[in-house]
């Protein structure tokens, strides 16, 4: 674990059922999800080890019931885990007292919920100021801060509205504003845009990217929408039956799926849009002529790849040469390998 690791979890288990601790202790190693279910227990999170580094956006994705929401609730200890350890900034969160846990949430963590979780009897302003109120900030300060974040999410002028007077997209903006009010270091988003219709979803994703550029938080983002994951993620963790199947960059997941499940999952994806020149570049190769940018996707380079006659195309990042990309390999990504 490096100094820049914000969340580190090792062999985390979350088992539901009667007396899960005792069950987990005597459970034979390598028991599968279905075997556990046959014993009358549900493995919400199954032996997960994962690390989140400062400033990165980790997207956890999987189908519903795959345990992604449960995992993120373990990070914030909304669920107590059954086995393993979770450390947040070097602190074992299971060892925290209730008071310390509340302090942690009051100062370090923010969370956005799928169906918003707004308090129906409070105005936008009071909803956003709620976490500040809970930690006992005085009225003027919390009002000023709340107005600031409301402005940030673009809800100026609606401070006095009640949640039910707002559209879904606006309600989620309130949810986002509330989670940002305390200036958290770690930001959890549990399928924040799933309840919105596609057009609004797209708009909110743009908004979210803008905010992230501005704030640079450490983010754990849950979604079941692969496109969304690809748009946003630095790294993606794909979950199935409580376990993480693969956790890697989008390019690697698309190019080198670790399991059959992940391969199937990524089958329908247009790889050319995901894979970047930088990933295809081989440091041992050089190539000649004009270089392409490492951040450009294969799709972006499509015309060049088809028309260029070179065998190896040099790739540069920030003006520095990082290696050469085989044109044939890139074309394969573009046209599909099979």
């Amino acid at each position: 674990m490096t100094a820049d690791t914000v969340i580190s979890c090792k062999n985390v288990w979350k088992v539901f059922g009667n007396n899960p601790e005792a069950y987990l202790k005597q459970m034979p190693k390598g028991h599968s999800f279905d075997e556990i279910r046959a014993d009358g227990y549900i493995a919400g999170v199954k032996d997960v080890s994962i690390e989140v580094t400062r400033g990165e956006m980790l997207v956890i994705m999987g189908l519903s019931g795959s345990g992604k929401s449960t995992l993120v609730r373990c990070f914030s200890r909304l669920h107590d885990i059954t086995g393993g350890t979770i450390e947040v900034e070097g602190q074992d969160i299971m060892s925290l007292s209730e008071r310390e846990l509340i302090e942690l949430r009051r100062n370090k963590m923010g969370m956005v919920f799928q169906s918003f979780g707004l308090l129906p009897h409070r105005t936008v302003l009071d909803n956003v100021a709620f976490p500040l109120e809970m930690r006992g900030q005085d009225k003027h300060e919390r009002r000023a801060r709340a107005l600031e974040v409301i402005k940030l999410v673009g809800l100026e002028g609606r401070e006095e509205y009640f949640p039910r007077e707002l559209s879904g997209g606006q309600q989620q903006r309130v949810g986002i504003a509330r989670s940002l009010a305390i200036e958290p270091d770690i930001w959890f988003l549990d399928e924040p845009f799933s309840a919105l219709d596609p057009l609004i979803r797209r708009e909110m994703q743009d908004e979210f990217l803008r905010l992230q550029e501005l704030l640079g938080k450490t983010i754990v983002f849950i979604t079941h929408d692969f496109d969304e994951a690809l748009r946003l993620a630095d790294r993606i963790a794909i979950m199935k039956d409580g376990a993480v199947e693969q956790c890697d960059t989008p390019d690697q997941i698309v190019l080198n799926p670790a399991t059959e499940y992940v391969r199937k999952f990524t089958e329908e994806i247009d790889k050319a849009r995901v894979v970047h020149a930088g990933v295809l570049a081989d440091a041992s190769l050089k190539g000649s002529g004009a270089a392409v940018d490492a951040g450009a996707s294969v799709q972006d380079l499509a015309r060049l790849l088809v028309q260029d006659k070179r065998k190896i195309i040099p790739v540069e990042a920030g003006g520095k040469l990082v290696g050469g990309m085989e044109r044939a390999g890139a074309l394969e990504v573009l046209l599909g390998s099979d």
Binding site: L119, H121, R122
Partner: protein, 661 residues
């Protein structure tokens, strides 16, 4: 009933391979044999009725227990101490509302001020119509010359309702937090809800002195159960994400409860408040039986001396108060906060409050100079008691009316009710217990059957069997008659949207009337007779019956009725093969409620003069016979519980079987 049973899901089989229906049939057969044996005179007397010598002296034992708790454990000291506090509160409200000479000695508040404030509150909650209802109710009360007695009633209500709310919500939160509290409360609540109100009254009198304090205590206790249930329900329904959002905002446990759970459960809690208010009003009127002055006492006196006009006027006042309190508290339930535009000045945000206070002050000052605004004197009111009295009596004296009521009275009494009663009384005790057990087994299940047998055996052991059977007879015949009249009305009404709405509105309104009011038309039409008892129960019980039948029929999924239409069903075929079977579970809930209402009403009707448990119960109120009072009350409660658990079990089973849940 046979029809209902035939639609039961796959017969549950008992251990010995006997199906539930089979076993029930055997029970019925044994009961029939016993009854025939009795008719032939070959049944030994001990099997007909439990011999006196075998009846344990429950009343004496209970008295001993009560006395032990009361005197030896010193509960009476505690309650007397509580009485002081309560008395003080009641004195304050009494002084404010009708000028009883007690601290703070500033009352009474002029009627004009109260009516004005009620109008403003009404406007705030529901616009002009509600404002009219609020102000109008109080104006009527004052103008008809019933201000003082109405305020006597209100002075208890405004203490009892908040008290019931606070206790109810506290217990509700505890029951939600701690499963063991929930488990402990559940059976107590179901007994409390079936216990006849006379049973609340006597302990209240003994522990809390005669008069307003005992009235307030009985009223409070009576109104607590729904508040507990609604609070628990509301808290359980709070969406988990909202709770998680609260947790992630760093709420402590207390903050979570105070800022997240309770506000999110607002709707259910306010529905609870509505029920608390309505039950308080219903009960506070009934406390007339223990000498609580007010509307109830006046009504009791007027009805006792057959002054129909004045009874009618008091009835109207009670109904108006009930409707007003119900509508306003329901409007409060649905009232959602609206935002003000930014920059709205302070006085505009609180306009309603300011107007209310302003009007109040204005009328208080006005009444200093205009005595009519303060109080209407004896000669100034518009009561038409005598005239209405003559009118009603003249109407009843019209030959056609007289002939109708006379015929009904004679026919029902001689041809139906008395034979039915005698028949029930002629069934040997064990045979009747078997019949009830068979009924519970058939509709409910093994557990229900065992409890039914146990409950009715206890009733037999109580030594009040004949009176219990008469109570049962009143309930059953009234509910049967109510079904006979109510079901066709409901089925007809359910055919169109318009009529469903109208009839449901009538039912909703009628359900808010305090039960006591139902005695008025009964006495008007049938005088002080057995038929009046049955009639008052009948109309009281018809309300839930009609209501649930309409709701059951209206909620049959439209694709099913459409499927029936497309299969070429006639209206009758559709009704009997599709709609009624699907509506039955909901209707059963209505039946159940009708029976519960009937058990409640039959006890009140004792006031007219019956020979059932209610009569005995009422008699105990005069003394300090708490043991007997309790035994009688439990008898009623046990019979009611038997029906309650059986019918509800059946309704739930049936709902599950039909996949309606």
């Amino acid at each position: 009933m046979a029809d209902i049973a035939s639609t039961l899901p796959a017969e549950n089989t008992l251990g010995q391979g006997l199906s539930r229906g089979r076993l029930a049939l055997i029970f019925v057969a044994v009961a029939v044999v016993m009854t025939i044996a009795r008719y032939l005179g070959v049944l030994p007397e001990a099997l007909f009725r439990l011999p006196e010598s075998m009846i344990p002296p429950f009343a004496i034992w209970l008295d001993a227990i009560f006395n032990f708790i009361k005197d030896d454990l010193g509960l009476i000291a505690v309650t007397r101490w509580l009485t002081e506090g309560l008395q003080w509160l009641l004195d304050v409200t009494a002084n404010l509302l009708f000028g009883k000479r007690r601290w703070p000695n500033i009352g009474p508040i002029p009627w004009t001020a109260i009516a004005a404030v009620a109008g403003v509150i009404g406007y705030y909650l529901g616009g002009w119509r509600m404002a009219l209802l609020g102000a109008g109710t109080f104006m009527w009360t004052a103008l008809i010359g019933q201000w003082k007695i109405a305020m006597e009633t209100m002075s208890v209500l405004v203490v009892a309702a908040p008290l019931a709310f606070v206790i109810g919500i506290t217990l509700g939160i505890l029951a939600w937090k701690k499963p063991w509290v929930d488990r402990a409360l559940k059976p107590i609540l179901s007994v409390l809800q079936t216990l006849p109100f006379f049973t609340y009254l006597l302990p209240a009198v003994i522990f809390f002195k005669v008069g307003p304090t005992a009235g307030a205590v009985a009223t409070t206790i009576y109104a607590i159960p729904p508040m507990i249930l609604m609070t628990t329900l509301g808290l359980q329904k709070v969406s988990p994400e909202v709770v998680e959002a609260g947790n992630m905002s760093g709420c402590t446990k207390w903050q979570l409860l105070r800022h997240v759970y309770i506000p999110s459960a607002r709707t259910e809690i306010l529905v609870g408040v509505n029920q608390v208010i309505m039950l308080c009003l219903a009960m506070v009127v009934l406390t007339a039986f223990i000498g609580m002055p007010g509307l109830g006492a006046k009504l009791l006196a007027m009805m006792g001396s057959f002054k129909l006009g004045r009874s009618f006027e008091i009835g109207v006042t009670i109904v108006l108060l009930a409707v007003m309190l119900d509508r306003m508290s329901k409007a409060w339930v649905v009232k959602q906060p609206e935002h003000f535009e930014k920059g709205t000045p302070w006085w505009k945000r609180h306009a309603m409050l300011l107007i209310g206070v302003g009007l109040f002050v204005f009328f208080v000052i006005l009444s200093r100079f205009v005595p009519e605004a303060q109080e209407l004197g004896r000669k100034q009111n518009f009561s038409q008691g005598k005239e209405i009295d003559t009118l009603i009596k003249a109407f009843l004296n019209i030959d056609a009316v007289k002939a109708t009521t006379g015929f009904l009275r004679a026919f029902l009494n001689v041809q139906v009710l008395i034979p039915f009663r005698n028949f029930l009384l002629s069934i040997p005790t064990p045979a009747l217990i078997l019949l009830v057990t068979a009924f519970a087994l058939w509709l409910g299940g093994r557990k229900q059957a065992i409890l039914a047998a146990l409950f009715f055996s206890l009733v037999a052991l109580s030594g009040w069997w004949d009176r219990s059977v008469i109570t049962l007879y009143s309930v059953l015949s009234a509910v049967a008659l109510a079904a006979l009249i109510g079901l066709p009305i409901a089925i007809l009404a359910a055919r169109s949207d318009k009529w469903s709405k109208r009839v449901l509105l009538v039912c909703d309104t009628a359900q808010t009337f305090p039960s006591f009011v139902y005695l008025i038309p009964a006495i008007m039409l049938f005088g002080i007779t057995d038929i009046a008892v049955i009639f008052s129960i009948l109309i009281f019980a018809m309300v839930p019956l009609v209501r649930y039948t309409i709701e059951g029929l209206r909620t049959v999924p439209s694709e099913m009725t459409e499927a029936a239409d497309m299969s070429g069903a006639t209206r009758m075929q559709k009704l009997f093969s599709v709609q009624l079977p699907l509506a039955l579970p909901v209707m059963a809930v209505g039946f159940n409620q009708a029976i519960m209402f009937a058990f409640f009403m039959v006890i009140i009707a004792a006031f007219i003069g019956t020979q059932d448990l209610g009569q005995e119960l009422q008699r105990t109120l005069a003394g300090t016979d708490m043991g007997k009072n309790f035994v009688l009350g439990i008898c009623v409660s046990l019979m009611a519980l038997t029906f309650d658990m059986t019918l509800l079990k059946w309704a739930n089973d049936q709902k599950k079987a039909l996949g309606l849940e």
